[in-house]
Each structure stands twice: as structure tokens, then as C-alpha cells.
């Protein structure tokens, strides 16, 4: 029998419920993306436009993750609590995963539509800088032998690095870019060029990826707590 002190982490049942909800939502969104949303006009990429339904939610999840890094870093500098430091580090890791997916799916979509995988335009370049910033943040944390000593400089990077997130988001409106500017909230249907079935598929995918972010963050924080327990026991020997 496994030791309960190891396997019974606090909130096990809630995590299981969150995982079930997440995978149900993802499954529903996949059905809607492939069987409910209509094929886009050939000028928009035809079947290829369906990449949009996981490219944009991945970008949203990365913004959310880096927003959590920003807020948790401020909370850590104010309180010095390890809990906030762990949330910031975990969220940065999950954010890098989602941002990597954006940087992979974007060029795959761009190649047949633009004729090239990459353009050094404002949206693509600022997204790459955002990814490099948080990869640097994780490397900074990973290189330190004593995690507690690097926590404060890492929090400063987590706060300063967030400055780039609104730049990435608004780059398509501030500068002329190849990347589509996306819809405005005030006139979603006309500005997005999407009909009701497509908007339903998109928002379901958006909720699914938001839940997936929450699930991955929860799992990563629990992993960090487990690592802290191991460190404490090793130090006490």
C-alpha cells in the first residue's frame, strides 16, 4: 500500500473534478471546431482557418499565465511568501508551453497563406520576445543553486517582463502588420467575420483552454509543493 503522506495531496478531489471538466470542455470544443463551425472562405484559408480555434485560445492562455506571473510576483515582493513565488514560477512554465504552441501553430498557418513561415513584423517579433523573456525567467530560476536567493530577482523579471504582453496584443493595431488584427468586442460578429456556429466553437475552445491553463497551473503548483517537502526532509537529515 502506498504511503498516504505521499499520495494524498490536499485538494485531490477538486483537481480530479477540474480535470474532468477540462477534458469534457476540450472534447466538446473539438466536436464544435470540426463538425459545427463551417469551412471558411478560401481567401481566409478554407479548412486551414480551423487552426484559429486553438491558435488564439493558446495565445489567450499564455497572456493569462503571464498575468498570473505578474500578480504573483507583486504579491511575493510585498509578502515574501514562498506560496506566491511558487505560483509565479509555475505559471511562467505553463505560459511558456502555451506561448510555444502559438509560435508553432502560427508559422504552420502562415506558410500556406502568406507563402512564408515567418515575417519579422510587429506581432510575430513581439511574441517571440515575450517567449524569450519567460524562457529567460525560467533559466534564471533553474540556474540558481539556492532557489530562495533567486526569488526576488525573478519576481522583478516577472513584473518587468509583463510590460511586453499588452505590446504583443495591441501591436496589430499600433503598427502595420501582416497578422490579422482580430475582432473588436463591440462588434464581434462583423469585425471577426465569423458567424454564430464559429463564434460558439471559438468561445467553447477559449473556455476549454482557460480550464486547461487552470488545471496545468494547479498540477505544477502541487509538484512544486512536493519538491519543497522533499527539500525540507533532505535538509533535516
Amino acid at each position: 500500500m502506498r504511503s498516504p503522506s505521499v499520495t494524498s495531496l490536499p485538494g485531490d478531489a477538486s483537481v480530479r473534478r477540474l480535470a474532468i471538466l477540462t477534458w469534457v470542455m476540450i472534447a466538446v470544443s473539438l466536436y464544435l471546431i470540426f463538425f459545427h463551425a463551417r469551412e471558411a472562405d478560401p481567401t481566409m484559408g478554407g479548412q486551414l482557418q480551423r487552426i484559429f480555434y486553438f491558435h488564439v485560445p493558446s495565445a489567450w492562455a499564455s497572456y493569462l499565465a503571464f498575468g498570473v506571473v505578474f500578480l504573483a510576483s507583486i504579491a511575493f515582493l510585498r509578502t515574501g511568501s514562498r506560496r506566491w513565488d511558487l505560483i509565479a514560477a509555475s505559471s511562467a512554465e505553463v505560459g511558456v508551453v502555451f506561448c510555444t504552441l502559438v509560435l508553432i501553430t502560427g508559422p504552420i498557418w502562415a506558410k500556406p497563406v502568406w507563402g512564408t513561415y515567418w515575417q519579422w513584423d510587429a506581432r510575430l517579433t513581439s511574441s517571440l520576445i515575450m517567449w524569450l523573456t519567460y524562457v529567460g525567467y525560467l533559466l534564471l530560476r533553474g540556474l540558481a543553486e539556492d532557489g530562495s536567493r533567486i526569488a526576488r530577482p525573478a519576481a522583478v523579471v516577472g513584473i518587468v517582463g509583463f510590460v511586453n504582453v499588452p505590446i504583443v496584443h495591441f501591436s496589430v493595431r499600433w503598427w502595420r502588420t501582416l497578422h490579422p488584427s482580430g475582432p473588436t468586442v463591440a462588434d464581434l460578429e462583423n469585425s471577426s467575420g465569423l458567424g454564430s456556429p464559429e463564434l460558439v466553437a471559438f468561445f467553447t475552445a477559449l473556455i476549454g483552454f482557460t480550464l486547461l491553463f487552470a488545471l496545468l497551473l494547479t498540477l505544477r503548483v502541487r509538484l512544486g509543493n512536493l519538491a519543497d517537502r522533499v527539500d525540507r526532509l533532505e535538509l533535516a537529515r
Binding site: 504511503s3 505521499v6 486551414l48 496545468l216 509538484l223 519538491a227 526532509l233 537529515r237
Partner: protein, 43 residues
């Protein structure tokens, strides 16, 4: 490559990427649980 081919590549990249990350979390957790069991046994 056809439109559907590109779509498949992007779709596979997303789910393989997320799957790889979940696998890495699970591997790290198993390793830590094993280490924790060893430490608690020696206490």
C-alpha cells in the same frame, strides 16, 4: 501539402506538445514521490 494536411500538422503539434508537458509533470511527480517515500522510510 493540402490545407487539411497543414491543419493536421498544427493540430498534432498542439496535442503532442500538451501531451509531452503532461508527461513531464507526471514523470517529475513520480520521481519526487519515490524520493519522498525513501526519505520518510529512513526517518
Amino acid at each position: 501539402m493540402s490545407e487539411v494536411g497543414w491543419l493536421f500538422v498544427a493540430f498534432a503539434a498542439v496535442w503532442l506538445g500538451l501531451g509531452a508537458y503532461l508527461l513531464s509533470l507526471s514523470t517529475r511527480q513520480r520521481r519526487l514521490e519515490q524520493r519522498l517515500r525513501e526519505l520518510e522510510k529512513n526517518e
